[in-house]
């Protein structure tokens, strides 16, 4: 694959494994084993079966008729919101728990921001009867209290990250510190296409089911497996990478990744990484990240807790630099309005993350014959408070 990873874990200038020596054996074990495990027939059979019977895949590709009429084109929703636990995060969690099991790990750790990945991880740990510890920023625990309770109900221990800015990046730091101290029995399920190699590649592969299904479904519904545009939101970038994956080499397909502009790219309250970031190293990978001139990581802002990560996955950084995908940004306000529009035109309450991708439809001039696929990465139940507060329902 032209935009794929090389043997040292790099996508062009980005990626690699910038980890302290303490993590080397853990990362090396994964690097050596993950491909063999993923290609093992027994693994594949169990992964496919769980995705089908437990997650409810394939997720539908839904022709959004009223949306298509409004924008004068053909718009398809890839319905990851219909997955068990309510978002695409479960695809990766299932893949990694099966991997952890085959590596003989007894204990699972994870980081979570909004709680979606934490819930997905707690879910698969319950499914497999494995101990689960989820690190979550102290501030996020207050903002996302229902998800904290969900994780606890599922049997996970939720540990507050009290260092730094007490949000997702700090939860990631705490999980990495835990892993340093527990190298032998513990597997760390990273929730996005970030972190040291092989994580970005492994998570992308688990999420690539999204574009794999989309191609087949498009062929059935339109007679061609290739759309004109593919849109997805990007925080760390796992749903976008899954949505782009099987289209990367089809260079006629326009890939659009939508970042969270927050209150506006230039307001100082934003998470639009490609607009505001510079090249550097975060959480073990060389990528683009928001930072001060002195190289200190900046805490991003977005109304969507799933998009306020200060970096993007290294493959995204590469797609951005190589101009294979276009990186755009959408403000809180635009996203909320798009979310409400989706409720009223299609009867679907999208996660605010996904609303960012929907909002970008306003910015493109489509042709009537165009086919557009947009990833509805999650459902909006978790965001009801935010929507209700904003619109006053």
């Amino acid at each position: 694959m032209k935009y794929g990873v090389d043997e040292h874990g790099y996508y062009g200038d980005f990626g690699g494994a910038y980890i302290p020596e303490m993590l080397y054996p853990n990362i090396e074990e994964l690097r050596k084993q993950y491909l063999a495990v993923l290609e093992d027939d027994d693994f594949k059979a169990e992964f496919d079966q769980l995705l089908k019977d437990y997650v409810g895949r394939p997720s539908p590709l839904y022709y959004a008729k009223r949306y298509s009429e409004k924008y004068g084109t053909n718009i398809f929703f890839k319905r990851e919101d219909l997955n068990h636990t309510g978002s695409h995060k479960i695809n990766n969690a299932i893949g990694q728990i099966l991997l952890a099991e085959r590596l003989g790990k007894k204990r699972i750790i994870a980081e979570t921001g909004a709680g979606q990945h934490g819930v997905a991880t707690a879910t698969v740990c319950a499914l497999k009867g494995l101990e689960c510890v989820v690190y979550m920023g102290e501030i996020d625990m207050q903002r996302q209290a229902p998800n904290v309770s969900r994780m606890k109900m599922l049997g996970a221990k939720v540990v507050p990250a009290t260092s730094g800015s007490k949000t997702l990046k700090d939860a990631t730091n705490e999980a990495l510190r835990d892993w340093i101290g527990n190298p032998e029995d513990t597997h760390y399920i990273i929730g996005s296409v970030v972190g040291p190699y092989p994580y970005p590649e492994m998570v992308a592969r688990f999420q690539s089911i999204i574009s794999f299904e989309t191609k087949k479904q498009l062929l059935e519904q339109t007679g061609s497996e290739l759309p004109n545009y593919v849109l997805a939101c990007v925080g760390g970038g796992s749903n976008a990478m899954g949505m782009f994956y099987h289209f990367l080499d089809d260079e006629d397909v326009k890939l659009i990744a939508v970042e969270a502009a927050g209150k506006g790219v230039d307001t100082g309250h934003s998470a639009a990484t490609t607009f505001l970031g510079k090249e550097g190293v975060l959480h073990g990978t060389r990528t683009i990240l928001m930072q001060t001139e002195d190289g200190q990581v900046i805490e991003p802002y977005s109304i969507s807790a799933g998009l306020d990560y200060p970096g993007i996955g290294p493959q995204h950084a590469h797609l951005y630099k190589a101009k294979r995908a276009q990186y755009a940004s959408i403000t809180d306000e635009e996203a909320l309005n798009a979310g409400l529009l989706c409720c009223q035109l299609e009867g679907i309450i999208p996660a605010i993350e996904s609303s960012h991708a929907l909002a970008y439809l306003e910015k493109i001039k489509f042709k009537p014959e165009d086919n557009i696929v947009i990833c509805i990465s999650g459902r909006g139940d978790k965001d009801l408070d935010t929507y209700i507060k904003h619109f006053g329902y």
């Binding site: 494994a17 080397y24 054996p25 730094g164 700090d170 730091n173 002195d294 190289g295």
Partner: protein, 256 residues
């Protein structure tokens, strides 16, 4: 030859090194602490430049880093503070920190500047060998800076030999696979690990760090290596009231 090479050529045992975070407890405490440590007999220093996301550090060094950043410490400020360092301090000095601030400063510029102010070596826990060799080793060599790598009980012999070939002053042996600020673990496994390293006939001496906090752990470490490094315990000391005046006693309590 830099000061580190000289030190290790002349002193083979009971070395004591101290780590502390630049800009902590106050922005301008960096050089005064270095002077006090030299006067107290410390053999070499590791001055940490703070980073917002120090994944290899425990709570003590995390908090000192946060405070240092709040105080306004940056690499620019640090190099400015170290400008006349060599008029005041003569023992070897290493800078220790994470790769991202170095990348923003420019790794080449960082190495040049470090060498200019009289720094002898650098420890970058999140810069692995592959990336070091591919991208940066030339800058270190051009500026006569030693790059120090960490070794843990889980590092393979093959990697240790590679590290031994890439570095030229000492190997930083971790007492366990942990973040900073833990306690020294002495079990049969750990003794075996130290003996295994000693038996490898490496060209570089080893110094033990992580979990060295008092004379007991220091003496234990010195049985197996050329010396030991105290970090978190000293950073804790810096939070006490008369920390500068207390430095000689702190050092005496570790190495009488």
């Amino acid at each position: 030859m830099n000061r580190l090479h000289n030190l290790f050529a002349n002193k083979k045992s009971n070395l004591l090194s101290i780590y502390y975070t630049a800009g902590y407890p106050t922005l301008d405490s960096t050089v005064a602490i270095a002077e006090a440590l030299e006067n107290a007999g410390v053999d070499f220093l590791e001055i940490g430049f703070p980073y917002s996301d120090p994944v290899a550090d425990g709570p003590t060094i995390q908090q000192s880093s946060e405070k240092a950043l709040e105080n306004g410490m940056t690499l620019n400020v640090l190099f400015e503070q170290l400008k006349d360092l060599r008029n005041r301090v003569s023992i070897p000095i290493l800078l220790m920190g994470y790769i991202n601030p170095m990348v923003q400063y420019g790794v080449e510029r960082f190495c040049k500047k470090a060498s200019e102010v009289g720094v002898d070596g650098v420890i970058v826990p999140d810069l692995p060998m592959y990336e070091y060799e591919k991208l940066y080793s030339g800058y270190f060599k051009d500026n006569n800076l030693s790059n120090i790598f960490l070794v843990t009980p889980n590092t393979s012999e093959e990697r240790i030999r590679k590290i031994d070939g890439l570095t030229d002053s000492f190997i930083y042996l971790l007492s366990s696979s942990s973040i900073t600020g833990g306690s020294l673990q002495v079990s049969t496994n750990i003794e075996d690990y130290y003996k295994r390293i000693r038996g490898m006939g490496l060209r570089n001496p080893a110094v033990i760090g992580f979990g060295i906090s008092n004379s007991e752990s220091y003496n234990k470490a010195c049985q197996y290596a050329a010396g030991a490094i105290v970090g978190s315990a000293f950073v804790k000391h810096l939070a006490t009231k008369n920390y500068l005046e207390g430095i000689p006693e702190f050092i005496k309590n570790i190495r009488p």
